[in-house]
């Protein structure tokens, strides 16, 4: 299983007027690809805070006191906001509890769906162009260095040629893209027209016909509509233009046939524009008249013989050379990292020393990154910002601790003074909100160690690298970036995609709905829209924060089914936050039960429902009726503890009728029950008295087992 997200020892507090509220204390869990983890707990247990720290949207008064959230080699707690822009909503998306408040009330649904797509399309174009130019320059430099027997001018010429025919390739592809876009727009306009004709509501038939005709005529002779179909399309467009008002049926027929024609044209195989670009640029003769497959083969041979084989060989040398140079630098970096560890292991760090160390380390690491590698090593790339923010937060912590200790001392003195005068103040002294410096220093060391481990692994695997493959991948990378730089996301395309998404999440008549406002939707439909928006960027991880709490049973079932369906289709990893254990059984692979900022029980859903071990899980389960419950429900007495003064022992001890004496004195560690199941309660200690779960749960588990046997037998 591929690990998507690792949360390790996450600790988050909030600074409030009454002191420091410890919202999340030491939360650790993993999320694998295509898996759902459910976080269950009462309100105020810190489940939403956990999810918000993953997305980096904590409130301003929040302090991340330690821990790390590793996604794709990056620690999300330490990367800069700029880097977060590439992750938030794009790789990790979120569905909020209340669909009405997470949609903009004065913006049409369609616009809300397409807004991000269009903005992102532009950003990607820019990024791709930049990437292409810098990488080519770099390659040129290393080619010269790695191939001393070839004159530099020749290599420069090669790179120039590559750039030139890439440019031709882009030109061809751009015109193809425009034609495809016109075809797509024509299709969507045709759908619109057909819809209106069917509903007998087409008022301006002439405009519609002209619109479709214009769009369709843009698709001729751009490798989209060719040969016979081109002539056919031309006659159809002519007929469409001549349509009269009384002939709406005929118009519908024509539109349908144009639609069929364009659809088949779009489904046709796309010729390889990269190879075609070289041929058109340097061959100085028209393309041979061949079928797409044959043409591709012919062009490939031409390209390889004249240019590519040679270019690839030189590039491979460059890659090899660059890799060996950088590997030796990496070895140096490992040494440097080792040397720097003692600096950060002192009981109290010295700022000047640390900053100097930071500077040398960051410079060395920047030099050691092989930028010709296409699979970017995100540990190394984010090392600089990670180290800087870790060190910053340490020294900021020192400053902050001083200030808050001072404030606390002042208040304490005032309190003592009042007491000494024999008065009884009706206020309490707020405890100083101190940052744990030890944990903060540990964070710095962890950043360093993580890079060290990664580099050691890279060096160990360096013998097995296949440079021939990597060279091809590099060329593909150039091609992909060139294509991306001309791939413009237009309104029409975004609309097309949005309509498809709306269909995917089960919204009927998406064309009509596209133009409506959020208030025109029912609760379930609104939540579907929110899900569609979250899916628009094709994320890896979806965080669902109580997505069905505001909805009723049937709609809830529909939304849960939808989330499950999408998860299976897209191999999504889901973090599902809820207080309703009933919902979880259907959704989750793993369940983490949270109480007072800690995970008290962690296991697969079978573990939690069939053999719960923590008294809090028992309490949650027994306070929820199912269809066969007849006994009095066991409500959990009292309220969760005030997290400004977290209890010394087990936080649940006060409300727990199974509490042992030690529960009030010492926090229980996580006891492992099985490979997948663990719980933090002293009841699992070998010396603890044996306690049975409440009868209501035992009965229910027995019933469930019986039902399971009946179903199987």
């Amino acid at each position: 299983m591929e690990k998507k997200l690792e949360v390790k020892n996450l600790r988050v507090s909030f600074k409030t007027a009454n002191g420091k509220v410890q919202a999340v204390r030491d939360v650790t869990f993993d999320l694998n690809k295509g898996e759902t983890i459910a976080i269950v707990g009462e309100s105020g247990s810190g489940k939403s805070v956990t999810s918000k720290s993953i997305l980096g949207i904590l409130a301003a008064n929040a302090m991340v006191e330690g821990g790390e959230i590793i996604y794709d080699g990056r620690d999300l707690l330490k990367i800069t906001e700029d880097e977060f822009y590439k992750i938030r909503g794009d790789r990790i998306a979120m569905i909020f509890q209340d669909p009405l408040s997470s949609l903009n009330p004065i913006m049409r649904i369609g616009k809300q769906l397409t807004e991000a797509m269009i903005l992102k399309g532009k950003a990607r174009q820019r990024a791709a162009k930049h990437e292409f130019n810098t990488t080519l320059k770099l390659l040129n430099k290393w080619m010269i260095e790695a191939n001393p027997d070839i004159p530099a001018a020749e290599i420069n010429q090669k790179c120039k040629d590559f750039d030139a025919f890439e440019f031709k390739h882009i030109e061809i592809e751009q015109s193809y893209n425009e034609a495809v876009e016109a075809a797509n727009e024509a299709l969507s306009s045709i759908d619109d027209g057909l819809f209106l004709i069917e509903k007998n509501a087409l008022t301006n038939y002439k405009e519609k016909a002209n619109d479709v005709a214009n769009l369709a005529s843009k698709t001729y002779d751009k490798y989209v509509v060719t040969g016979d179909s081109e002539t056919k399309l031309k006659t159809l467009v002519g007929e469409l233009k001549a349509v009269k008002k009384t002939e709406l049926d005929k118009m519908a027929d024509i539109l349908s046939s144009i639609k069929a024609l364009l659809t088949t044209a779009l489904e046709r195989k796309v010729p390889n524009f990269f190879r075609m670009g070289y041929y058109l640029k340097f061959a100085n003769q028209p393309l041979p008249d061949l079928s797409v497959d044959r043409l591709d083969e012919y062009l490939l041979k031409y390209l390889n013989d004249n240019f590519m084989n040679d270019f690839l060989a030189t590039a491979q040398n460059a890659l090899k050379h660059s890799a060996s140079v950088h590997n030796s630098r990496k070895e140096e970096v490992i040494k440097l990292l080792n040397d720097s560890l003692p600096v950060f292991s002192k009981p109290l760090l010295i700022e000047k020393e640390c900053r100097e160390c930071e500077k040398t380390l960051i410079n060395a690491v920047e030099d050691s990154i092989d930028r010709l590698e296409i699979n970017k090593d995100s540990v190394a790339y984010t090392f600089a910002s990670g180290l800087k923010s870790a060190i910053d937060s340490y020294f900021e912590g020192i400053k902050r601790n001083k200030a808050s200790q001072k404030a606390h001392d002042k208040q304490q003195a005032k309190y003592d003074r009042l007491c000494a005068r024999g008065k009884k103040p009706d206020w309490k002294v707020i405890p100083a909100a101190l940052v744990d410096l030890e944990a903060s220093a540990e964070d710095i060391r962890r950043v360093i160690l993580r890079l060290k481990e990664r580099y050691e692994a890279v060096l160990a695997a360096s013998g097995e690298r296949d440079f021939a493959k990597e060279t091809i991948a590099l060329v593909d990378f150039f091609k992909a970036n060139a294509s991306d730089s001309v791939y413009k996301v237009t309104k029409g395309m975004a609309k097309h995609k949005a309509l498809r998404l709306m269909e995917e999440v089960g919204i009927p008549e998406p064309r009509k709905r596209y133009r409506q406002y959020p208030f025109e939707f029912s609760g379930g439909m609104r939540q579907r829209i929110v899900i569609a928006i979250a899916l628009a960027a094709n994320p890896d991880i979806l965080i669902c924060d109580e997505p069905t709490t505001a909805l009723d049973v049937t709609i809830q079932a529909q939304i849960l089914e939808l989330i499950n369906k999408i998860k299976a289709e897209r191999q999504l990893s889901i973090i599902f936050i809820t207080h309703d254990l009933g919902v979880v059984a259907n959704m989750a692979d793993k369940i983490a039960v949270m109480y007072a900022g800690k995970i008290v029980e962690y296991g697969t859903s079978e573990d939690i429902f069939y053999s719960p071990a923590h008294p809090y899980t028992w309490a949650l389960l027994s306070s929820m009726p199912d269809l066969d419950t007849n006994e009095k429900l066991e409500a959990i007495p009292g309220t969760p503890p005030n997290m400004i003064y977290p209890p010394v022992g087990d936080a649940f001890a006060d409300r727990n009728k199974y509490a042992l004496e030690i529960d009030f004195e010492l926090q229980p560690p996580m006891f492992k029950i099985s490979e997948t199941h663990s719980a933090a309660t002293w009841l699992l200690h070998p010396d603890a008295p044996k306690v049975e779960p409440p009868k209501i749960i035992l009965d229910r588990v027995a019933r469930m087992k019986q039902r399971g046997e009946e179903n199987n037998g």
Binding site: V553, E561, N586, S623, P625, L627, T629, L633
Partner: protein, 409 residues
């Protein structure tokens, strides 16, 4: 927790209740009885009219048509059915006159028909007047009766008493009479609302919130009010000290307890609980349900429980009515309903309940209800029919026979 009330005394009787908002038929021809001491659950998806039903019963809306009887007395009545009957009769008469022009035989019968229609219309108008009178005056009459009772009780005593005793009695008589005069019959039905935050006035203390009903009823003795408030606070599991606080100082579960206390202090016989636990955390949900259960046993309350969480409804109710788009589609004992759901909508609703059982959940398939595909009402329209003693389903004859045979298998 089903506790089948054995007595058959009907506390609330809803007869052909219709509640239309312009063209929107929020509740359409709904009839059911609630027996004394039972919990009657009303379920359905949002927008199906269950909350409107509850609000119509407590006279928050003037109903369009139908009757509602509480303790045998008509408290709500609508007029649409009478108006329709009169219009129909007039139409028939018109038709008869049309016919009479060509047909001498019909012409001969015409005077007879005319007289009949005129009689029918006067009857209907009288009924309608009665309905309007009952709808408007049931509270007034109740207050008049209560005042009379107080008069009967105190006047002889006052007449026979003398001196200080007399002064005290007069004082007491005045207070009691004041209370009796402001008595409303409808206060014997109380409501608990869904959202404990929105339903409590943030600028009133808990004492004021709970005592508001008493004050409106004319209670002026502060000591007596305090006494009752403290008693009811204890009853719902809060303490005396809470009385001087404001709602925002309480947790969700405690707030809902205040809502319950506000209803209970009026000594109601029927409580309409409109989704009282839907907005609460699971653990607090259990507290509130347990509280309602205890109160029901201690005070002998009858509860109309409106919710969409079927596990909770099943746990709490004796009988359950399922509503779909303003119609009551199925009505049965809660065990019976979950064992033998007959109406396809009930089946679909039951199949949507998530259970805390992963193995079961992985194979649960939701049944989708499509009214157009399920029913063919082109030949015969559906009505609420009794398929089995106590088990009613909204169906036509063909479906009725199908359901009966289904039950036999």
């Amino acid at each position: 927790m089903a506790n089948n009330a054995n007595n058959n005394e009907v506390l609330l009787k809803v007869e052909n209740l219709c509640q239309y908002f312009k063209i929107n038929k929020a509740v359409d021809d709904v009839s059911f009885d609630i027996k004394k001491g039972e919990v009657f659950g009303l379920v359905g998806e949002s927008g199906c009219g269950k909350t409107t039903t509850g609000r119509s019963i407590i006279k928050l809306y003037d109903i369009t048509s139908g009757n509602i009887y509480f303790k045998g007395k008509r408290i709500c009545a609508g007029t649409l059915s009478y108006k329709r009957a009169i219009a129909d009769a007039k139409k028939k008469l018109k038709q008869a006159i049309e016919d009479a022009k060509n047909d001498p035989a019909a012409a001969a019968r015409l005077p007879e028909i005319k007289a009949e229609t005129a009689k029918f219309i006067t009857e209907q108008k009288a009924e309608m007047a009665k309905a309007i009178h009952d709808h408007k005056n049931c509270d007034k009459e109740y207050a008049a009766e209560a005042t009379k009772e107080v008069d009967n009780k105190y006047l002889p005593l006052i007449n026979s008493a003398t001196g200080e005793e007399k002064a005290r009695l007069v004082e007491e008589y005045k207070r009691e009479r004041n209370v009796a005069k402001k008595q409303r019959f409808i206060t014997q039905i109380q409501m608990i609302f869904q959202d404990p935050i929105a339903s409590l006035d943030p600028r009133m203390t808990v004492r004021d919130i709970i005592a508001e009903g008493l004050v409106i009823r004319g209670e002026t003795d502060k000591k007596k009010i305090d006494e009752q408030v403290f008693k009811v606070l204890e009853l719902v599991g809060l303490v005396k000290e809470h009385a001087s606080r404001y709602p925002h100082e309480f947790s969700g579960g405690q707030r809902q307890r205040i809502g319950v206390a506000r209803a209970v202090i009026m000594k109601p016989e029927l409580i309409i609980a409109d989704e009282p636990v839907s907005a609460l955390d699971v653990s607090i949900q259990a507290q509130v349900i347990n509280l309602l259960n205890d109160l029901r046993h201690d005070l002998g309350l009858t509860i109309l429980f409106i919710a969409h969480d079927l596990s909770v409804v099943k746990y709490f109710s004796d009988r359950i009515g399922v509503m779909y788009f303003g119609k009551l589609v199925e009505l049965a004992d809660s065990d019976e309903l979950f064992k033998n759901p007959l109406h396809p909508y009930t089946k679909s609703l039951l199949s949507a309940i998530p259970l805390p059982d992963p193995a079961y959940e992985k194979q649960r398939t939701r049944i989708v209800y499509n009214p157009l595909a399920e029913h063919d009402y082109s030949k015969e329209g559906p009505t609420l029919r009794e398929v089995k003693p106590g088990h009613f389903v909204y169906c036509n004859t063909e479906e009725f026979n199908k359901y009966v045979s289904e039950l036999k298998d």
